[in-house]
């Protein structure tokens, strides 16, 4: 693994169930996360995913990819376009830097109305060693798969 590597995207169907289950699993009973009528009264077209669920999904995206031995060190997320029911969010990740067995991964999550989340995750993956840069003299095409 090296800087520039991209993680395979993960599609998350934003169901009403996911939004409500995520809110309740995070003990977040704000009406905008489960009551469409009250969400509309506050100017939102429908309920929307809470930040804790987004945080959890970003964490899952990283550990799904790096495996159960991976240890999350830091997760920082910033929210933009809300996740409403019926939408799909696509999480993407790109390795920004690798130092020893620790990588910094830039994560984005786009939905049908824009960028829901941008985030930075620091993750330690035991046994992870930086892959040497491709040798330009070996004749094979370079770049990232």
């Amino acid at each position: 693994m090296r800087a520039g590597d991209e993680l395979p995207p993960l599609e998350i169907a934003i169901t009403r169930t996911l939004i409500v289950a995520g809110a309740l699993a995070s003990r977040d009973f704000q009406d905008v996360h489960h009551d469409p009528e009250l969400a509309r009264a506050k100017g939102s077209p429908d309920i929307f995913m809470n930040i804790l669920t987004t945080n959890g999904l970003v964490g899952r995206y990283l550990t799904d990819h790096f495996g159960p031995a991976a240890v999350l060190r830091k997760v920082a997320v910033r929210l933009g376009a809300p996740n409403h029911p019926g939408d799909t969010m696509v999480l993407r990740g790109r390795v920004e830097e690798v130092e020893g067995d620790t990588a910094v991964v830039r994560v984005t999550g786009d939905n049908g109305i824009g960028r829901h989340v941008t985030g930075t995750v620091t993750v330690t993956v035991p046994g992870l060693a930086p892959t040497p840069a491709p040798d330009p003299s070996d004749g094979r095409p370079g770049g990232v798969g």
Binding site: R27, D28, A41, P68, R73
Partner: protein, 335 residues
């Protein structure tokens, strides 16, 4: 998002908000439950997270659950210090009644395991200047929470919310509609009904110290006119002093309810909720000599005319509102 040009009031509000920076939002908070397997399982099911590290005898909690362990839940927070409630109340008063979480930055220093008892302290780290976003205009409030287990640091949690007045709702004068309902959840507020559109109800009367006696009379179906106790001049609408002699002393006389249309307008446009144009608004000269503005009812709007004899009727609107209106006196309608 762009800064707006602040007015002096906004500067003053921001100064008051900034004073909360560095103050404690929660002191010696205790997680509502120890870290536990059922909550971990609910979380993993919701997230679709099948990481085996989160199950079994050596399970750890998903690190991103950090905030879940310090959420107040339905019953709210226990250890919250007054400063945070005050800060949120100031913003509520300014019309910033809605909340959205915008940023969460967490660092995990050691894994949490079932049985761990979480304690935490939260400090108000910063309050931004007034910002206008797509959602509305408001202020970003950033808190930082240190989470410990058995006295050892387990993680930090920096959280940013935007407290805002939803777009289309003006920031209010602060002394209107004080609302200090105290405790809130970590990423939200409780003003669930604020901003909800009433279904086409009439505007409520504005009752104040100077006119409270008038509205109390209306409630009892009496149309009361003020009378100066110094010079006996009648006055309407209600005012704190006599326009003739300047005296502040007054009593009331009850109007007979007889009157005539002194003048009128017919309202065609613009339409207001709860009113269906066209309709007639009369300036009614009461038998006592003072004039009152009200609706002329029970007569087609185009039959209202100057000099039309009318009589008072108290009519109920929207279940809970009684208003004095005027109808043509018997035998006078549509003459």
């Amino acid at each position: 998002m762009d800064d707006e040009f602040p007015t002096r009031d906004e500067d003053e509000l921001h100064t008051r908000l900034k004073a909360y920076e560095g103050r404690a939002a929660t002191v010696a908070g205790v997680g509502r439950d120890p870290v536990n397997a059922p909550m971990i399982r609910h979380w993993c099911e919701a997230m679709g997270d099948r990481n085996p590290a989160y199950t079994g005898p050596d399970a750890i909690a998903p690190p991103t659950m950090l905030q879940a362990w310090i959420m107040g839940g339905l019953s709210g927070h226990g250890g919250r210090a007054r400063a945070y409630g005050e800060l949120l109340a100031l913003l509520d008063e300014a019309g910033c009644t809605s909340v959205v979480a915008t940023d969460c930055e967490q660092e995990y220093l050691r894994p949490l395991r079932p049985g761990d008892e979480v304690t935490f302290d939260t400090v108000i780290e910063s309050v931004s200047g007034r910002k206008t976003t797509k959602l509305g205009t408001g202020y970003f409030v950033t808190t930082r929470t240190d989470i410990r287990v058995g006295g050892a640091s387990a993680g930090t949690h920096r959280f940013r919310i935007l407290k805002y007045a939803p777009a289309g709702h003006d920031l209010k004068d602060r002394d209107q509609d004080r609302n200090q309902d105290g405790d809130r959840n970590q990423d939200g507020d409780r003003n669930q009904d604020r901003g909800r559109q009433e279904a086409a109800r009439r505007p409520r009367p504005v009752v104040n110290r100077d006119n409270a006696g008038f509205w109390e009379g209306v409630r009892r179906h009496r149309l009361l006119v003020q009378r100066c106790t110094a010079c006996a001049t009648l006055r309407f609408p209600w005012l704190p002093g006599c326009g003739t002699c300047g005296s502040a002393g007054w009593d009331t006389v009850e109007a007979s309810g007889e009157g005539t249309v002194y003048s009128y307008v017919v309202m065609h446009h613009p339409p207001f909720p709860a009113f269906s144009p066209p309709y007639a608004i009369g300036l009614i000269e009461l038998a006592e000599g003072v004039r009152i503005v009200s609706n002329v009812v029970d007569v087609p709007y185009d039959k209202v005319r100057i000099g039309l004899p009318v009589e008072l009727e108290f009519r109920a609107y929207d279940d809970d509102s009684v208003l004095p209106v005027f109808r043509p006196r018997a035998g006078e309608a549509a003459a």
